[in-house]
């Protein structure tokens, strides 16, 4: 693999037995794993191309234990990698050979539900879907719905600022979280945000969400819950060209409609999905759009007709409107199975996650097709069309020497293209290790230094989840220095302004 992780500290590795013993003095003996065979399940997350067994795994059950673990690791300069359910698609929870892997799976309780204030307080190991299930009896739900929601944990959602197909209307994790308890690398426990809308002081919960486990270990999360919409209805629309599908999306938004979800698939993805689940997707179209409206029935009925008219005006060649819940689910079945369906086209696939300004979609798809030819690897596209978040799926065979590297190079080219047209490297999967080395494509060294100094404010020794997000690990002391300005030592002589 082309990825270079920080050089493991041999001294720490040599202390494995001692570290495991210390951890066993903090948590129960069965909560520490150091048997190599039992470390294997932890060697990767959802980005399986990268694997590394951790030094040792610890599965604490209380905040006090986490505080004690981090304090000891901090005092002994031992690195720590936090892990939720291990579903990250960017390697955010990839272990390090010289780091303790801190698993949050035993933090699995819903602590409080307050319907009057419309919040739930949960431990980080609770799965995303379990939050919704916990409040479903009163007709509420937790809005962000990443596709891994049956498995992914809320703590991981906080770390990655996870989205989902409904985030254009309902926001990402960051828009649905009010507060958290976190433990800093030195063991200090702090509460940030709260149960009210605005934080007192700086928006610390805002900076912790999406920080990819580099700032602190989240031990409790307060999320907003919403009343479940009365109904949802969907349209399944086929277009002869990607341009016309894109224009339909733009016209829908221009008409003042923000659908609950708006998903696009290209011809290869449509065919793969239809072959896999047989839900009646049209196979003679270049782009398929699923538009979902939710809310009260009167609203859905009204907007369905509006969107249908916009679709027809843009030359839709097929158009179906869900008449009942099974039909709506059928529309989604193909989209939801798109990744495994595409997975049947080749032994392996590599899922990318850039965002672009939507109007650049036709050009981006065209250039992606040219790259596909040049690399000799197929690519299928599924696309959160409402917010411009692309998921190109690159097809390859890891058993053919050189193909993984080729797929990665193709993926990097796609992400560079996203940035070139005004977009970003990642819309919802996170930087992790996967896109770490591409960060300079989007940010200057000065931009990155301003981000890294935030890291220094939380974890000045850079012990928490090192090797992720930032392409270079600058020491905090070095980052803190004031640099030479206008070719001189700082600020001599004349006023400039």
């Amino acid at each position: 693999m082309s990825l270079v992780m920080p050089k493991p500290d041999e001294g720490t590795i040599a202390r494995r037995a001692e570290i495991a013993a210390v951890l066993r003095s903090i948590v129960s003996a069965d909560s520490v794993i150091d048997d190599p065979a039992r470390l294997r399940p932890y060697e990767s997350d959802g980005l399986t191309a990268y694997r590394q067994p951790p030094l040792v795994v610890v599965l604490p059950e209380t905040t006090a234990q986490i505080s004690a673990i981090l304090a000891w690791c901090h005092a002994n300069a031992v690195k720590v990698v936090p892990r939720g359910s291990g579903t990250s698609l960017s390697g955010g929870a990839l272990p390090l050979a010289d780091a303790v892997l801190l698993g949050l799976s035993r933090f699995n309780r819903v602590l409080d539900i307050d319907y009057a204030d419309r919040i739930a307080v949960v431990q980080p190991g609770v799965t995303n879907l379990a939050v919704t299930q916990a409040v479903a009896e009163r007709g509420f739900y937790y809005a962000p719905d990443p596709s891994s929601q049956i498995a992914c944990s809320i703590g991981g959602n906080v770390a990655e600022n996870s989205g989902g197909v409904h985030c254009l209307k309902y926001g990402l994790t960051t828009n649905n979280v009010l507060g958290a308890e976190i433990v800093l690398m030195d063991g200090e426990i702090v509460r940030i945000g709260g149960r009210q809308l605005d934080p007192a002081g700086l928006d610390l919960i805002g900076i912790v969400v999406g920080s990819e486990g580099l700032l602190g270990v989240v031990t409790e999360v307060t999320v907003r819950i919403l009343p479940k919409p009365e109904i949802a209805r969907a349209l399944l629309i086929g277009f002869p060209t990607v341009e016309s599908a894109g224009q339909c999306v733009a016209d829908t938004i221009a008409a003042g409609i923000i659908p609950a979800g708006m998903e696009m698939m290209d011809a290869l993805a449509i065919k793969a999905a239809e072959d896999f689940v047989r839900v009646g997707y049209p196979l003679d179209v270049a782009a398929l759009l699923i538009v979902e409206l939710d809310g009260v029935a009167a609203e859905c009925d009204h907007l369905i007709e509006e969107v249908a008219a916009i679709a027809r005006a843009n030359g839709a060649v097929s158009l179906r409107i869900s008449q009942d819940e099974p039909e709506r689910m059928a529309f989604w079945a193909g989209r939801k199975a798109a990744f495994p369906a595409v997975g049947r086209l080749a032994p392996d696939y590599y899922c990318m996650d850039g965002t672009i300004p939507r109007r650049r979609l036709p050009e981006v798809l065209e250039r992606m097709a040219a790259l596909s030819q040049a690399y000799g690897l197929g690519v299928a596209n599924v696309f959160h069309a409402g917010d411009g978040n692309l998921h190109p799926l690159i097809l390859y065979d890891a058993n053919i020497p050189g193909q993984l590297e080729k797929a990665e190079a193709f993926g990097s080219d796609i992400l560079r293209l996203c940035v070139e047209v005004g977009g970003v490297l990642t819309g919802e999967h996170g930087v992790g290790v996967e896109k770490r080395d591409l960060m300079p494509v989007m940010f200057s060294e000065t931009d990155l230094a301003h981000q890294q100094r935030v890291k220094c404010a939380f974890d000045p020794e850079l012990l928490l989840n090192p090797g992720k997000v930032f392409p270079q690990l600058h020491r905090c002391a070095e980052l803190g220095r004031m640099h030479v300005h206008r070719g001189q030592v700082p600020f001599p002589d004349l006023p400039r302004f």
Partner: protein, 390 residues
């Protein structure tokens, strides 16, 4: 004596101003339209007037994205997006009228830096939820960017969250990229008169938990002019949906009394009064109490006991209190209710003695200070306004 304000017209000017300030050991007070200049302790720091860093850089309605320079007037931004039937969904407002000045000068940079959001914050979020990216000059005198110009992005730390509500204490924002959203076609305001504070919060909670998708919920007690208290719930969107949800809401709230709909003009005027706090006395100290909604009635009870005027916004989660209440008492009550209290308006002597922002727990305060120092190591932007000029 107040020295002449610095008036940068580009990023490089800001860089130079900071370089000069560092050389001279000066502090800089970032200043937009001045609508919030009387919040916080009076300061002698030199003004960095951002109003000439103004203008729209890019507006792409179909992408829901707007990029403007920080010194652009809020009124100008709102007028622009209105031409395309869009809005800043966090419903920002100009603080001028709270201080007896006309609305108009507030800038978009000031609104974002102060985290200003109106009644719709309850359903649509705050500046933090709509600031997609920015360019700024940090206290280190360096230009940097964060976030991006697309609506969905998780690349790198979410620095826009720190920028929204930072009160200009870490960097000078020079350019902002904001998410814009369609403006509702129809707005309907439903009211129930005569509820007690506790009943009002319960009614608003019931409404917010219903499928009626309430956009804003506020309550004004009888003491503020009306013969009866008034609880108002705003529903908005497309006409067929708004009428269906209105009926649903009225039925759901029947136990609290008969809800009726205001005509559009009366409804709009009522919400405008809430935004400018026209019902509250203008000559008393003004507190902004942020609590979980269920904590609202306790704050109202304290205000009534001390003869202060108050009203609820955000379904009870925001309590405005105008009156003479001992600061420790006010803050203690806010904390007891699970929230915090901001001193928005007060005589200069009181502002010099009482911090505008609610004091934080020591560990959080220390963390905040480290974060601010990460951007502004020499405290160029620490003017004493927030009692933290270390």
């Amino acid at each position: 004596m107040q020295r002449r304000a610095l008036t940068p017209t580009c990023d490089e000017d800001v860089v130079d101003a900071i370089a000069d300030a560092m050389r001279d050991g000066d502090r800089l007070a970032i200043h937009g339209g001045g609508s919030k200049a009387d919040i916080g302790a009076p300061t002698e720091a030199r003004r960095l007037d951002m109003t000439r860093l103004a203008g729209v850089v890019d507006y792409d309605p179909a992408e829901l994205v707007l990029t403007v320079r920080a010194g652009t007037r809020l009124a100008e931004v709102e007028a622009l997006v209105a031409t395309r039937d869009q809005m800043l969904a966090f419903e920002p407002f100009d603080h001028g009228p709270l201080f007896g000045r006309p609305a108009g000068p507030a800038t978009i940079g000031g609104v974002v830096a102060a985290g200003v959001a109106g009644s719709q914050r309850l359903s649509a979020g705050a500046p933090r939820d709509h600031l997609l990216g920015f360019r700024a000059v940090s206290g280190r005198g360096e230009v940097f960017v964060a976030g991006a110009k697309v609506v969905k992005n998780v690349t790198g730390y979410d620095l826009p969250k720190l920028a929204a509500g930072c009160w200009g204490r870490m960097f000078a924002l020079t350019e902002l990229t904001l998410k814009v959203l369609p403006r509702p076609r129809v707005r309907a305001t439903w009211i129930i008169d005569g509820l007690s504070p506790g009943q009002a919060v319960a009614a608003m909670a019931l409404a917010m938990g219903s499928q009626a998708e309430v956009a804003a919920a506020a309550h004004v007690p009888a003491a503020l002019g009306g013969a009866l208290s008034r609880t108002a719930l705003r529903i908005q969107g497309f006409a067929p949906s708004v009428s269906a949800r209105g009926a649903m809401l009225a039925a759901g709230l029947a136990a609290f009394g008969a809800a009726r709909m205001l005509d559009a003009d009366t409804g709009a005027a009522w919400w405008a009064e809430i935004a400018t706090l026209g019902m509250l006395p203008a000559d008393r100290p003004l507190w902004r109490i942020n609590v979980p909604p269920s904590g609202g009635p306790a704050i109202a009870a304290l205000a009534e006991a001390r003869g202060a005027a108050w009203l609820f916004d955000w379904a009870g989660g925001l309590v405005w209190v105008a009156g003479d209440i001992e600061p420790m008492t006010m803050r203690g009550a806010a904390q007891q209710a699970g929230g915090h209290a901001t001193l928005v308006r007060a005589p200069a002597a009181m502002r010099a003695a009482v911090p505008a922002l609610h004091p934080l727990a020591p560990g959080v305060a220390a963390l905040e200070t480290r974060i601010r120092r990460a951007f502004d190591p020499n405290g160029v932007f620490e003017t004493g306004r927030f009692h933290d000029a270390d």
